[in-house]
Symmetry: C2
Amino acid sequence: MRADAKRNRDKIVEVAREVFKERGMDAPLDEIAKRAGVGPGTLYRHFPTREELHDAVMQAWVERVNEYADKALAHEGGPRGQLLAWFTEYVALLTAHKGAAARITCSLGMPDSPIRTKCEIYAAANARVLDTLAEQGALRADVENLQVARLVGGVASVADQAELGGEQIEPMLAVIADGILAD
Amino acid sequence: MRADAKRNRDKIVEVAREVFKERGMDAPLDEIAKRAGVGPGTLYRHFPTREELHDAVMQAWVERVNEYADKALAHEGGPRGQLLAWFTEYVALLTAHKGAAARITCSLGMPDSPIRTKCEIYAAANARVLDTLAEQGALRADVENLQVARLVGGVASVADQAELGGEQIEPMLAVIADGILAD
DNA sequence: ACCTGAACACCGTTCAAGT
DNA sequence: ACCTGAACACCGTTCAAGT
């Protein structure tokens, strides 16, 4: 990759992050091109689909998922407190960019999604938290990690689109937690 | 309303129902106008926003919600069976039109949504099922009907967008049920 | 090899002219 | 009072011409 190409690519991703943050994940692409000082064709050369640009933008996002998983596992309040901490942090992360929650959640477990990389990292972090708790015998035997990921992602999607506050989200996450914790 | 206007309106709704069913809730509007044999301006006169057309199309949908609530309450298998029956039927109904689940769910509890009428009817049916079970002491004291509606709607949204099958949906609904049933 | 930007396509929305 | 359809606007996508 030529130096000017790399500079353009980086600039596009940087600007896209801002624009997606401000106006949501389906903001006009030519606004991004304009602000980045490139022609629309350049944006298309680097990112043939909107999803590929999403993927690049969410790179930073993903690096924090593992941090959050660790923090949740270190949380006091036993398995229930840890589960809730994890769910809460994850929903917060997902709803940081409007429109991201639904996209990521519906790509979970789809091996050929364009944002596959991000999904795998989240799925791994989620599995790490759940497996840790399962080893302690804290969870029902029949819960699958993917199902839990989709449930929490569903809450995040609804919260994102309906613009719910934390006090509305918390009790929904508690229902999910109670549904998977061993009696 | 003049007779020809009414005829046009009815035809638009009828065609819109087919087109939304075939191509999802954000299918091109001028395809609907074309198939209904009217100019685009006529469609706009009757339905100034896409949401208002959605609302008209979902009228039939909504009439079946109450039927389903009754069926679920008559279900055998005790409170858990009844809850699951209700959730399952509701998700099936919501995912019948691609894109409808997320729209309806995120409008729940928003008094000035354009599809408010539909949401209220669903919320009422949901409340009827949950209240009946609560009177029997089958549910935890602190579950709010709206939260449950959003949880199930979240599952429906994810199932809709990821095109999940019933065998993937069922265990997620079971988690929600277990999360709200009294121990 | 990469970029630009004019050109095209698609679709939502408006409105002047018609009945 | 209602309808039509041309016209406009917006935005995604392509590609010939440039460096």
